[in-house]
Amino acid sequence: MAALITHAPILIIAIPLLAAFLTPLIGMASSKARNAFVVVSLIFTVFLVFTLAKDVAINGIHVYTLGAASPDLSLPTGFIVPVRIILEVDGMAVFFSIIWSVVSLAAAIYSLSHIASETGQNRFFTLLLLMVMGGFGLMFTGDLFNLFVFLEIASISGAALIAYRTKFADTQEGGFKYIVVSAIASLMVLFAVGLLYGQYNSLNIAYLAQVIQYTMLDKIALALFLIAFAMKTGMVPLHLWFPDAYSVAPASITGMLVITSHACMYAAFRICFTLYGSVINAPVVGWIIIIFGLLTMFVGVTMAVYQKDVMRFMSYHAISQLGYMWVGVGVGLAVLGNPELIATYGRDAMSGGIFHILNHAMYKPLLFFTGGALFHYTGTRDLTKMGGLAHKMKWTTILYIIGTLSISGIPPLNGFSSKILIYESVYQFHPILTITGIIVSILTLASFTKAFHSAFMGAELPEYKGVKEVPRSMIIAMVILAAGIIFITLFPSLIVDSTIHPAADALIDPKPYISAVTGAIP
């Protein structure tokens, strides 16, 4: 068990990867065995993630040096610069990996029957596992170039999965847009990594954070990083590709893509708070993030109101919800240099933003899954053509209601607890932020009620006589996420204390992250 925990960071990356390499071989023998294999390997990964999370909560940051004589030997003997690739797992990384593991398990279970009638399932599941692996790598790595590699893995597999249904033209277009945006974003990341490498001759985040000077080149690199990751998360001026890509993917993949954008958000936080944490001009960067976050919130929800396609409608809401997180964490960043303000509201604002990531990661995939369930039998994503489906799909209806109430922040559901945390703390920073947040929330509720009405309520339509409840595995996947929502609703303080606050603290104070690699700071 001790050895398992020591090697857990790399095992969490390597086991989905090994499973991905084995999946095509097993799938040739039998598709049932392949399905079981995929689900079992993901369950094992979830188990490892929770074991690691428990250990990180007790023993602090985990460092894993690849290829050294011992995992914690982060620096070569008698030398002060890290040479090898180092995986580093702190509260923030663990928090994101918990979300990612649970949602990817749910998505894999959902896919079992969602794509059962299509060809190419072996390759579908292979790519799904590769995407899982890319996401974990993105969260755990402590090395900038490695971050770029894992970013590419997650985006390439994501693009291929978006274009999975090759018989429609729009899927190809969505996948192409996604891969073009990802390629440009990751090349910008690579250029920024080159700028940092050229100055400091290192790629390790912790070491760079220790020696960084905040020269003009560093500022350019920071801007490139932020633009690239904002592009990948669909922040507003760069959001045009986002609904196109998200609405055409199979529903299970859309659920995972939401978490991929959270992972890119994680990378942006890591860059701002850890890499540049000690030198950053916090108020300026914080305000830039807040302004674009507000814009994201508002534009996302106003565009969503007009949408007729159920998945596009939910994608625009995803954009708008991502704005809340940017605003929450942006407020924390804006007051980063001021310990007093951090204590009064900065930490709460950041906890609110991070808590909202957790909640969003539960209800948004759930809503996308219900959208996919509507598509599964009706064969259309157009809300105006649907109607009266509540009579036939009882489970889906109930789960959709849970998701809707949660996303619009109706008390006592979990969306409310994170939004109230953001509102209260952000109000002390600037009241206009809270007012915008509440308006966006109301618009969200209104548009989801309208969508609910047109899809589920009303008389049964004659063309949907044959519609029945979706297959069991899709229900199970949705119930996993709904159970997550209910659990957070029942025990919000437990969640906040055990996962959210460690994550926020890891962002506010980068020193433990740095000293875990480089030893005590001189």
């Binding site: 170039f145 770029f148 590699v149 590419e152 390439i156 693009a159 291929a160 274009a163 090759t166 429609f168 033209a169 729009d170 190809q172 277009e173 969505g174 996948g175 192409f176 891969i179 073009v180 390629a183 440009i184 090349l187 690579l190 250029f191 080159g194 490498y197 050229g198 001759n201 790629l203 609904p243 196109d244 609405s247 055409v248 565009m303 007009y306 949408q307 596009r312």
Partner: protein, 118 residues
């Protein structure tokens, strides 16, 4: 700084490549040209990376029968190698999608082959 400008030529060439590729990506409507732009962007970034590691008068970092003297830095070369292979993979996937788009819509123009709007 002036005396370095002839020596800095690889960096400037990399910046020029990146600039031209951004011009192509922003203004060109043809999907194949867009892909060529991304390939150029990748080449520019790779050129930038590999020229970061050059040391004047250095040998290749391979000890087999190497003459005396300094060696150029090896990590940027490894990074560039990785990045080249990654870009090959991305380009292959992009071209596949473009072939599929062309099959569906009969056009390579990004305005004409658009289905998704709003």
């Amino acid at each position: 700084m002036m005396e370095h400008i002839p020596l800095d030529f690889p960096f400037l060439a990399a910046a020029l490549l990146v600039g031209i590729s951004f011009y192509i990506i922003i203004f060109k409507k043809n999907l194949i040209k867009l892909i060529m732009g991304i390939a150029m962007l990748a080449s520019g970034v790779n050129l930038f990376l590999v020229s970061l590691g050059y040391r004047a008068g250095g040998n290749a970092p391979i000890y087999t029968d190497v003459p005396e003297g300094t060696m150029v830095m090896s990590v940027p070369q490894a990074l560039t190698l990785t990045s080249i292979v990654i870009n090959v993979a991305v380009l292959a996937l992009m071209l596949t999608m473009v072939i599929r788009i062309y099959r569906h819509t009969g056009s390579l123009d990004s305005e004409k082959s658009r289905k998704l709007k709003g």
